[in-house]
């Protein structure tokens, strides 16, 4: 399982192409489930021009790895990849990528969903949005 928290932009499809090459037994995984979250250009009726993501270096990575281990304990998955940005983002850019490889569709979907849900509710990241009305901290209700 690979977890990366990084300032640099990433291309989710290049990440997945590279990860597929790394997976030793390509024929073992019948199912790959992927979620990509991007920065929308609107939130709560306001155009969003930019966003900054703060995190807790060390704890954020450790928490994502824990969520990945939990998913691997609950479902028969072969591998998982989580990439999450921090720092400055512009609309349209990917924020988060979660990918799960499994022999089976059910496990791949369930584990992928579990990781992104846990990430959103528990991983220490905070968004500060810049809109025409000024900067504001996003809330979990956004």
């Amino acid at each position: 399982m690979i977890v990366r928290v990084q300032r640099d932009p990433f291309d989710p499809w290049q990440e997945l192409a590279a990860a597929g090459k790394r997976l030793a037994a390509a024929g073992a995984h019948g199912a790959t489930a992927v979620f990509v979250g991007s920065l929308r250009d609107y939130n709560q009726g306001q155009p969003v021009s930019a966003m900054t993501l703060e995190h807790y270096p060390g704890m954020t990575e450790a928490h994502l790895e824990k969520v990945g281990r939990e998913a691997a304990a609950r479902w028969p998955i072969l591998d998982a990849l989580v990439v999450h940005r921090y720092g400055a983002l512009t609309p349209g850019e990917p924020i988060v990528l979660v990918a799960v490889w499994s022999a089976h569709r059910d496990a791949a979907f369930a584990a992928c969903r579990y990781i992104i849900d846990e990430l959103k509710t528990r991983a220490p990241f905070w968004k500060r949005e810049r809109t025409a009305a000024g900067a504001r901290w996003a809330t979990p209700e956004d």
């Binding site: 979250g37 995190h55 704890m59 990430l119 959103k120 991983a123 220490p124 905070w126 968004k127 809330t139």
Partner: protein
Amino acid sequence: MTPITVRFFASIREDLGKDEEHIDSQGIATAADVWERVAGRPLPARTLVAVNQQYASPGHPVKAGDEVAFFPPVTGGELP
């Protein structure tokens, strides 16, 4: 004595005007004690607490050398 490291993130960092502080562990038993020492008021509702980079309750024991962090609800991933 080894101090306690206290860290603040996001809106709490902005409200307090600081991101990190080191305090003497004398008289500190729990994470809530740490907050009252550094902020001079009770821990606001919904504030999240981590001790040594793991989520903890406000009543979690804290000792010299620990890292205690306070931050608002998290908002990672896509919107919403």
